[in-house]
Structure formats: structure tokens, C-alpha cells
């Protein structure tokens, strides 16, 4: 049984209004399902509150079919429709369904865009920050070590826990929306010290330096350890935000990694002993040249034709460093008329790209810099796409399967080259 503080009991009793009461009710049901004994307070929540497809609004037609109905009945799983006030916690909206200006290029209808605009106005009116990204940590929401968060989005969750030392479980839509109102999440999983210790060991035997190799190592690690916590040791170099971003996204896709330790690199793993604590490695996996080749082939298993008609960069959303590099690579070149190049990022990062002229450089080359979403989230690819080239292990894991297309995994250089020539020439060096 979950024990409530006086304030939590008062919230449950409706003393802070019916919406907070319903939010607390859902969180108590959730805490009991987890067998949590108490709640932790959070003031950092990232979710997809109230956003809905027309199908969901239509489903709640008799309840008004609006944001209020969806938030009450779906997000809070309430039987009644209630007034939803401004959120109490510092809250942000993660990625959404389309680019706010290039939606027609993405193949969205006017009706879908109207729905998007209306949801966004409601999100803003409820005090939820419109970050519209899978990378809140490079768009204005950077937790600190030890901070209790309630985040959705597996690639952001693994970054928060592993790289920052923030504390979040992989929350869902309903728990994040409720936490935005009640500022509570169950004290379970990654909020607790003992849960954050390593469970399996990965010995790296080949140098891992660039983003391409960090991504492949991440894909290997997830495939090996599934949803346990790996402790990774070996010649891993040039640790940086973008390398961790690609590593974590890959590990969360091929397995279900929500936290990893890299000895001497991540904050809760300054030594091997610290990373494992009282645990002992259940299994030891080795990443060597043969495994690196196996992972490369696995990621390219859905590539057959070398005629690339679509290149997508920005999974997870590109940082300004990556956009600058992509712009540098394509400057003076043109995207082939047989191909298309879409680059995805957050609105915050795009503002910097605009100021630096990168958006224009990309545009002059025939590429588009888009925000809010990606091809997998919005299921939007250029019309007629059959073969995509990607520099993200996560995107190559999802996109070809979702869209029934072929996919190649390679370096950013290889992808931009494919966009400019229409031909895939990637290889493992």
C-alpha cells in the first residue's frame, strides 16, 4: 500500500480542485500497480499532454470532443469531464505530429494541421512549454544530478538517467499528464539508489570514437543486455552530448535500456566498483571487431537497392553542432533530383540555425530543416520513398519497418553524399 503525506491526501480529497484530485487518483492506482510505498515530488515533467488525433476527439464527441474532454478522460483516465487548470509542475511538451510551417511538404492535410494548431494553443494556455522535441535537454530543459523527473521518450529517459544523473522512469502519457498537475510520481525504479546499479558488463575491445561507432555500440549493448543496466568499459573516446544521444537512443531501441554506466565517463560510474555497487555482473558481453561487423550488417539488413530517394537526419533531433556540420558538408553541393534530404531538430535549436545561416545553406542545397517531429513519429516521408539512408541506428530500427521501405545505416558524410548523388556508397571501414 502506498502511504500518502498529509498534502497528498488533501490533493486526493480534492482540496486543490477536481483536476488535481483526479490526477492523484490515477497516480495512486499506478503506484499500487507498481507496489510503490510512497511518492517522490517532481517539478520536471515531459510528456505529450492532451495532444490527440481527430479519432480521439471524435471518440469523446459526447463529452465535448475538445482538449478538456481528451485531457480528462484519456490523460487522467477520469470518468467525468472536469476543468483542467494550468499545470502546477514545470512541464514541457515533447515531440509532436508535424512541422508547424512545412506540414504540407510532409503530406499533412489542412484538417490535421488545424487540429495541431488548436492542440498547441491549448498546450500553451495550460502553461506547458512548447519544446516539441525528443531532446528536451538541448532545448531548454536540462535536469541536474539527482533531480527527480517524470519523462516520457525512451531516448530522453536514458540520457537523463545515464549522462546527467537525473532520475526518471520511462513514464507514459497518462502518468506524465497527472504528474504535471499533482507534482508526484511513484517512488519506484530509477528514483531509488539501489535500482540504479549495474547488472551486466560489456567489455569493449575495439576503439569507439565517432558518432557512427557510438551508435553501433549502443545498438549492440541494447541487443545484448535488453532492459537491464549495462556497465561498459573499454577504449571509448571523445565522449560528447551527440555521441551519448546516439548511443542511448540506439540502446533503448534494440533493447530497452533506460540507464547505462560507462566507466570513467558517466557520473555514477567513476569506477567499476561504484557502477556495480553491491551487484555482480550477471553476464559479460564482448564487443570486438567481429561484433562490430555483425551489428553493421544487422543495421543494414533492410538495405538492398543503392538508389537512395530519401535521406533523413536528426534522430534524436539534431543539435546545433550536428546541423552546423551537415551544412558544412553540403555547402556548394545540391541534393540530387532523384533524392530528398530532410533534417529534423527542435524549434529552439532551429532558431540558432536560422541565425547562423545554416537553414539557408541547407535550403540553397535543396534540403529542408524541419522541427517538432521526425519521419517515424509522423509517418511522413517524401512521396514515393522506397529507399532511405539514415545516420541513426534508432531510426533505421523503426522507420523501414513502419513504412515498408528499405533502409541504410551509415555516417553523416555517407548520408549527405547519398542525398547529393542519389546513390548509397556506404561501407564499414
Amino acid at each position: 500500500m502506498v502511504t500518502l503525506t498529509g498534502e497528498e491526501q488533501a490533493m486526493l480529497d480534492g482540496e486543490q480542485g477536481p483536476a488535481v484530485g483526479k490526477a492523484m487518483e490515477l497516480l495512486v492506482r499506478y503506484a499500487e500497480a507498481l507496489d510503490a510505498e510512497r511518492f517522490v515530488e517532481t517539478n520536471n515533467v515531459a510528456g505529450v499532454p492532451g495532444s490527440s488525433t481527430p479519432w480521439l476527439k471524435d471518440y469523446y464527441k459526447q463529452d465535448g470532443g475538445d482538449y478538456r474532454a481528451v485531457f480528462s478522460k484519456f490523460d487522467l483516465d477520469s470518468d467525468e469531464v472536469i476543468d483542467v487548470p494550468r499545470m502546477n509542475a514545470y512541464s514541457c511538451h515533447l515531440q509532436g505530429g508535424m512541422d508547424p510551417t512545412l506540414w504540407a511538404e510532409q503530406g499533412m492535410t489542412e484538417a490535421a494541421h488545424d487540429n495541431f494548431v488548436s492542440d498547441e494553443a491549448q498546450t500553451a494556455a495550460h502553461g506547458i512549454q512548447i519544446l516539441k522535441t525528443c531532446t528536451p535537454y538541448i532545448a531548454g530543459n536540462v535536469p541536474v544530478m539527482g533531480e527527480h523527473c517524470a519523462w516520457m521518450e525512451s531516448s530522453a529517459v536514458v540520457f537523463c538517467n545515464s549522462v546527467i544523473g537525473g532520475r526518471t522512469n520511462c513514464e507514459g502519457r497518462e502518468s506524465t499528464s497527472a504528474a504535471m498537475l499533482a507534482k508526484r510520481v511513484p517512488d519506484w525504479g530509477f528514483h531509488r539508489d539501489e535500482y540504479r546499479l549495474g547488472q551486466n558488463k560489456v567489455d569493449v575491445r575495439v576503439p569507439v570514437e565517432d558518432v557512427f561507432d557510438w551508435g553501433m555500440l549502443g545498438y549492440f549493448v541494447g541487443d545484448a543486455v535488453q532492459d537491464t543496466i549495462p556497465v561498459i568499459e573499454g577504449p571509448i573516446a571523445k565522449a560528447s552530448l551527440i555521441r551519448h544521444k546516439h548511443f542511448g537512443a540506439a540502446a533503448a531501441s534494440s533493447g530497452g535500456v533506460e540507464m547505462y554506466h560507462m566507466v570513467g565517463i558517466t557520473p555514477e560510474a567513476n569506477t567499476l566498483e561504484r557502477a556495480f555497487g553491491a551487484n555482480r555482473a550477471e553476464q559479460v558481453f564482448t564487443y570486438d571487431a567481429a561484433e562490430r561487423k555483425r551489428i553493421y550488417e544487422m543495421l543494414n539488413a533492410v538495405g538492398n537497392s543503392t538508389d537512395v530517394d530519401y535521406v533523413m537526419l536528426g534522430c534524436p533531433h539534431y543539435s546545433i553542432e550536428q546541423i552546423a556540420y551537415a551544412a558544412h558538408l553540403i555547402e556548394g553541393r545540391k541534393v540530387s533530383d532523384k533524392s530528398a534530404l530532410w533534417v529534423f531538430t527542435s524549434r529552439a535549436v532551429k532558431a540558432t540555425a536560422d541565425a547562423n545561416g545554416y537553414t539557408k545553406t541547407l535550403k540553397d542545397a535543396g534540403a529542408l530543416l524541419m522541427t517538432d517531429t521526425c519521419s517515424a513519429i509522423s509517418q511522413a516521408v517524401p512521396k514515393g520513398t522506397r529507399v532511405a539512408a539514415l545516420d541513426s541506428a534508432k531510426q533505421v530500427h523503426y522507420l523501414p519497418a513502419m513504412m515498408g521501405i528499405e533502409g541504410w545505416y551509415g555516417t553523416t558524410e555517407e548520408c549527405i553524399d547519398a542525398a547529393c548523388t542519389g546513390t548509397w556508397k556506404g561501407e564499414l571501414k
Partner: protein, 151 residues
């Protein structure tokens, strides 16, 4: 054979409540973990993940027995949509507790149990009759093929 032996379950497992309530129906069992977003079509309750052993099969109206939830944080929302579409399972029995499986069980409002004293994946087969009592944390099993049970 007395009436009592006819209705007595072949196996009873005891575990812990995730969500209360009682449901009885036919089991659908898999040894593969299940993804929500990108792994399930909520409108039909069908598993769509490539290479999944339940690919193409629907859990709608079944007692879903599986190792646990995996994948995107959209898990609960996808299963929640399945409930709205009338395609949710009748109950869930699973081994590994995660925030995805917990929240998904809660918003589907179906009986769910975990932490059972024996592995349900070894003892329940697709087609068995199963009664899940979430409040008591029990799973009663009537084997579809009694002859298949080893003594």
C-alpha cells in the same frame, strides 16, 4: 467424476495484484516481450511487430500471458486506445514489472497479476481456460489438453 473435480482448476498460481477485478477467458501466451507503439495496432488489438511470435494475432478478449512490456514510452497510450476501440485483453498475466506494464494495466482497467510463485509461461498454453483474480492475486488454469500435462 464429481462436479467438484470438473470445475476444480488444474493449476493455481499465486502472485500479487497489479490491478484488481476478476476475469475469465481463453489464454493467449507468448514468450516474446510486447512493444506498444510500433508493436501493436490499437484499433484491432493485433501484434504487428516483425518477427514477433504473435504477429498478426489479436489479444482482444483474451487473457494475455507474456513476459513483460518493452519499447517506446507510448506503451500505455497504445493499450489505452485499444481499450477505447474495444480491443483490450480481458486480463493480463506477466513476469517482469515495468512502468509500461503497470500504467498500461491501470488505464486498461483490466485485472492484472505479476510476481507469481511459478512461471506462468511454463504452465499456461494458448487455448487454456484461465481465471485471473486481481484482488486475490491468483491465476487459475484449466488445461485445454489435459492429457498433455506431465504427472
Amino acid at each position: 467424476m464429481t462436479v467438484e473435480t470438473l470445475v476444480k482448476p488444474d493449476i493455481v498460481l499465486t502472485g500479487r495484484k497489479v490491478v484488481g477485478g476478476v476475469a475469465e477467458g481463453e489464454a493467449l501466451v507468448t514468450r516474446d516481450t510486447i512493444s506498444g507503439w510500433g508493436g501493436v495496432n490499437a484499433m484491432t488489438g493485433t501484434v504487428i511487430e516483425s518477427r514477433h511470435e504473435l504477429r498478426g494475432q489479436s489479444f482482444a478478449g483474451k487473457i494475455l500471458v507474456f513476459p513483460g512490456a518493452k519499447g517506446s514510452s507510448g506503451w500505455s497510450a497504445v493499450f489505452h486506445m485499444a481499450r477505447l476501440a474495444g480491443k483490450a485483453p480481458l486480463a493480463m498475466v506477466f513476469n517482469v514489472m515495468t512502468t509500461k506494464a503497470a500504467l498500461g494495466s491501470v488505464v486498461m482497467r483490466i485485472p492484472a497479476v505479476t510476481d507469481l510463485d511459478r512461471d506462468p509461461l511454463d504452465l499456461i498454453e494458448t487455448g487454456d481456460r484461465v481465471r485471473v483474480d486481481g484482488d486475490r492475486g491468483t491465476v487459475e488454469i484449466w488445461k485445454a489438453a489435459r492429457s498433455s500435462i506431465a504427472p
